[in-house]
């Protein structure tokens, strides 16, 4: 009873933290467009925080650079359970154009932390990001919440 009540609450309000682990900022700009009145992400009960301790969902952009290998795990460990990670853009998925021969990019992110959903595009449209968060976010969070630790 208490668990299902928690699930309902989790589904309707998702707290998101954006982490750029070494990208070009293109995806971050598209994420900023989501807060604008045109797309208005808060109407769906999604709130942005700069602090991972307040977040349910980590939105990761950027192809992991050397300094971020350690920090990405630290940030991930600070997010309270249940938590999910969503990759925004191609960089965290494959390294994209930065993953050249002889480059020092450590993509994909899934080598370091578990990833629940991936949004491809360079950058993805704000509507694509919104669709992905809404379709995977609430379900994934409540599912993670039911896991027995």
């Amino acid at each position: 009873m208490f668990q299902s009540l928690k699930n309902i609450v989790r589904k309707s309000s998702i707290h998101v933290c954006i982490v750029n682990c070494g990208g070009c900022n293109g995806c971050d700009v598209e994420l900023v467009a989501l807060f604008s009145p045109r797309y208005d992400i808060e109407q769906y009960g999604i709130y942005i925080h700069n602090n991972p301790r307040e977040a349910d969902v980590l939105l990761i952009t950027g192809a992991v650079t050397e300094q971020w290998i350690h920090n990405i795990k630290r940030v991930y460990s600070k997010v309270p359970e249940p938590k999910i990670v969503v990759c925004v853009g191609n960089c965290p998925i494959s390294g994209d154009v930065f993953n050249q021969e002889g480059g020092t990019v450590h993509a994909p992110v899934s080598n370091f932390i578990p990833v629940a959903a991936e949004i491809s595009g360079c950058p993805p449209r704000p509507s694509e990001i919104l669709n992905a968060i809404l379709s995977t976010g609430p379900g994934a969070i409540s599912n993670r919440g039911r896991e027995r630790k």
Partner: protein, 356 residues
């Protein structure tokens, strides 16, 4: 007063009231507009397998050319596959695609009729007019009609060329169609100079075998390519380019080697005046005739003049051959280990007249 009327008018509108009570983003905003350049669409059956899309792609993992399995009746078709996790939707692949109709469709830019070339290729294709036999096979092989005939001579149009290399394969004359590397000409010169110097000193050190040589026989010796390879790579780090430059240079190389045997010299000084560059000098202090290798033109005047056989003159040709027969390695470093330079030495054709 007028502002109050304006407020009443503004907030009384149907759109505003609707938006105020039901604050959702409208559907049209969420849909992609028609002009949006989405991931490329692949039409398998149009593909000619030239690989222009893969070489124009700025992202390393985005496009792969794939070939289906062969079945009994048909060969499997070749076609590009887009990895959405790496594609940046730039549309270069669709713009460059030379097939008619297009194999790749992405956005609307590729419908522009004026074509331009954005293939970042290391090679530049050139027809050698001196060797070309004007057979037209390269023109027929070219999928993008980049080879044009002007005044009965063929020319590669760089604006159309996609650097696929089909013309190179179809050309029946070795060297008539050239795919030259244009980015590092200075390094290529240094490599050729290094090869010539090394091989020349190697041959001059084989005195015993050279002495035995008469004007009917040949001497064949071998020199492993791997001994030169480290220095070549130090000059030009791109292995693929370095190997091709080395192989082409060695196969085309024909050098004349002079040996100078001072023991036979009787100090007649005939050769000193004959030498056109002053490479041969007489030194009064230690009473010797000296030959300066760096000034020498290898013209063979001294060889023809000398009555005592001090100078010997050889013509040498080279060929890169396999050391072992079964050579399936794909790594260039492995290939180089198995290669040797076959050296064929014979005396100059002049020797037949001189010995009579």
């Amino acid at each position: 007063m007028s502002s109050v009327i304006w407020y009443l008018y503004e907030f009384g509108r149907k759109v505003w009231v609707k938006g105020f009570f039901n604050g959702k983003t409208s559907k049209e905003i969420m849909e992609k507009p028609d002009r949006f350049r989405d991931f490329p669409k692949v039409l398998k059956k149009n593909c000619i397998g030239c690989g222009a899309c893969t070489s124009s792609c700025p992202s390393p993992n985005a496009i792969k050319l794939i070939r289906d399995m062969d079945d009994k009746d048909h060969h499997g078709i070749t076609y590009p596959v887009i990895n959405k996790g790496a594609c940046i939707r730039c549309g270069f692949c669709a713009e460059i695609c030379p097939s008619e109709p297009k194999t790749l469709e992405c956005g609307e830019n590729h419908f522009i009729t004026e074509k331009f070339n954005i293939v970042p290729s290391k090679r530049k294709f050139i027809v050698d007019d001196f060797l070309c036999i004007v057979c037209g096979k390269c023109r027929d092989a070219c999928n993008v009609n980049a080879i044009e005939e002007i005044n009965n001579r063929f020319r590669v149009n760089e604006k159309k060329c996609v650097a696929c290399g089909d013309c190179l394969k179809s050309c029946p004359v070795k060297g008539a169609m050239k795919g030259i590397f244009i980015n590092n000409l200075e390094e290529q010169k240094t490599i050729i100079k290094l090869i010539v110097d090394r091989l020349e000193s190697f041959i001059e050190n084989k005195k015993e075998e050279l002495d035995k040589l008469d004007n009917l026989s040949l001497v064949k010796i071998q020199y492993p390519l791997s001994e030169l390879w480290d220095e070549i790579i130090a000059i030009l780090p791109d292995e693929e380019v370095a190997y091709e430059v080395t192989e082409n240079a060695i196969n085309r190389l024909k050098i004349r080697v002079m040996t100078w045997n001072e023991d036979n010299c009787k100090l007649c000084k005939l050769c000193v005046d004959e030498c056109p560059t002053g490479a041969i000098t007489y030194n009064e202090e230690d009473n010797r005739v000296k030959h300066d290798k760096n000034k020498c033109l290898r013209c063979s005047y001294c060889y023809q003049t000398c009555p005592f056989g001090v100078v010997k003159y050889f013509v040498v040709k080279f060929l890169v051959e396999n050391n072992e027969e079964n050579n399936n390695d794909k790594d260039i470093n492995e290939i180089v280990k198995n290669k040797v330079i076959g050296i064929t030495i014979k005396t100059s054709p002049l020797s037949a007249y001189l010995s009579d």
